[in-house]
Symmetry: C2
Subunit: 347 residues, 2 copies
């Protein structure tokens, strides 16, 4: 049984959607145990909404509540507050992973707070300079999501860090998305080798030397959603801006379609006939089903989902956490990072 | 009469679409003269397709051809080749501006080459550290386009440069888009003052001190398409990646809709009923009508349009060039930059 410590208090829709998603995961996912972590009374109140599913899951040992006495508020300064609030749900859940009582961690809470708690409680995988958040983006090809990292854990990066991001992203793509030979791109402003800023130009030749990745050179913003690359690396400032801009544009398109399709009877009829198209567009633009962003480089499967996560996003995030744990992402990263660093020393 | 030097040889669709757009501009825009610059025989061959419009425009002194003996190829290294090919169409057209024979310059050629030629031939406006490309993006609000700069002229930037980008973008927004009080945002990863990378954190307090702009603080990628800001500043690496990623996503959505809407009779019927919606979505996502990206900070109205520009994009770019020239963007930038730099020295 793969045990997932689920932060019941994190995110805009906590605890309602988190508990619901957790119950669904405990009910439907094979060999998964969901450990809900947070204010016990609030969690139990939510669990009471699904008496039958909860009873079945509890009997099968697939659902548990672990109390946490504190909650991080959205306006708490993330890094500081995870140190100050020792018993907040994020820390309590993270310690379950540290102590071997859970195999993976899932939260829709502040990504800065989760990253800080992970590094504070779990430390880093040996040899890893900086853990990175790998955002999972949909592409033109439905079955080929893209890992974009770092998506916001590290602002000003060194070339060495980006190289490790490429190694860690490749491991995740192979282990979890089952890409046998994930293609790695370096985000830049042109596909020519010489294009870019100081960081990307310094990173380029280093990536060419990494034996465990399949580096395909620079990729432009134009290429991101084309589905030709599996892992794209950049610093966390660029990654975060790209990620949020893309989300913003997708929302703007959705907003526009919704507004325009209800203007007049003809359009409403047309929209009804195209219901399937809009539904599948929404699904394809919806990153929820890819299961949230793993924090790579910490010794433990840590999944961060969107602050606005619904029960569905939580369900898939629990699934992603279970996948990451079962496929030993941590062990594989440790191996590939050690191999790379050993090779570098002998050069 | 505002005279526009139009590079007839630049872009994927040159000279066909460029000449067509130029003729349309000469025909329809008030008080505009179009000077087509490039290989004369090729331009004349294209002009021969529109005998009536060309004859009328020529009689009215609104269309002229200025020959250039060389053309930049796409694989030429931009900065180098504008120095090597002294008589390429970009340089010849730029010199018309320099020599006072044209009031504005328009090209769909390589943006690096245009920027290099502009700086090489025109120099910089006094006090400007670095000219910047200001991309014009559509937002949720149709009448409120956003200027994003730098969109790719300068990779690694200093805080001082970003401050000037904000000043120059505000001038353009006021002069050309007629925003009376353009709101300026600093692209970052969170709206809190303290969020960002080293560059943005250094830039933030400087922007607060600029008297000629209305600085509203950090904006996230989430805010870009919301239409709440008129000018967003960032370094040219980030700006270029954001711009191209957004284009990539918009294309992916268009591709998806096109593919799905032709699957079965019901959907085709629905798509027909929603024809107006799709058309207006396409228009709204289509940056062509905003008339290309001005290169701000050089003494002259220089407009760079997309490499894939059609005649329509060229038409609007000529219009934008005329607007920039008539509204004396150069003079206003010179004034505001001088004022800012004088204020700084007295501090």
């Amino acid at each position: 049984m793969t045990r997932i410590a689920l932060d019941a208090m994190g995110g805009d829709n906590a605890p309602v959607e988190i508990v619901r998603g957790g119950v669904e995961a405990a009910e439907k996912l094979e060999d998964v145990k969901v450990i809900l972590v947070g204010i016990q009374a609030q969690i139990e109140a939510e669990l009471a909404k699904y008496p039958k599913a909860v009873e079945t899951a509890r009997k099968a040992g697939r659902l548990e509540v672990v109390p946490a006495s504190e909650v991080l508020e959205m306006d708490d300064e993330p890094a500081k507050s995870v140190r100050a609030k020792k018993d907040c749900s994020i820390n309590v859940a993270m310690r379950l992973v540290k102590d071997g009582k859970a195999d993976a961690f899932v939260s829709a809470g502040n990504s800065g707070a989760v990253s800080a708690s992970a590094i504070f409680n779990l430390g880093r995988i040996r040899g890893v300079h900086r853990p990175a958040i790998a955002a999972v983006l949909p592409t033109r090809r439905p079955i080929r999501p893209l890992l974009l990292l770092d998506a916001g854990a590290n602002m000003d990066c060194h070339a060495d860090w980006l190289v490790q991001f490429a190694i860690m992203g490749s491991v995740y793509s192979r282990a979890v998305f089952k890409r046998t030979k994930p293609l790695v791109g370096l985000l830049s402003i042109g596909t020519e080798d010489c294009k870019g800023n100081e960081l990307s130009k310094e990173t380029f030749p280093l990536l060419k030397e990494v034996k465990t990745i399949d580096f395909r050179g620079n990729v432009e913003g134009h290429d991101v959603f084309q589905g030709q690359t599996d892992v794209v690396v950049c610093d966390g400032f660029v990654g975060n801006v790209v990620l949020k801009t893309a989300e913003s544009l997708a929302h703007a398109v959705g907003y526009f379609l919704k507004r325009e399709c209800f203007r007049g009877v003809t359009r409403i009829l047309g929209a009804m006939l195209l219901k399937g198209v809009f539904k599948s567009l929404k699904q394809q633009l919806d990153p929820d089903i890819y299961g949230g962003a793993p924090l790579l480089g910490v010794p433990g499967a840590v999944i961060i989902t969107h602050g606005s996560s619904t029960h569905k996003a939580i369900f898939y995030a629990v699934k992603a956490g279970a996948n990451a744990a079962r496929n030993d992402v941590t062990g594989l990263i440790a191996r590939d990072i050690a191999e790379y660093e050993a090779n570098r020393k002998t050069l």
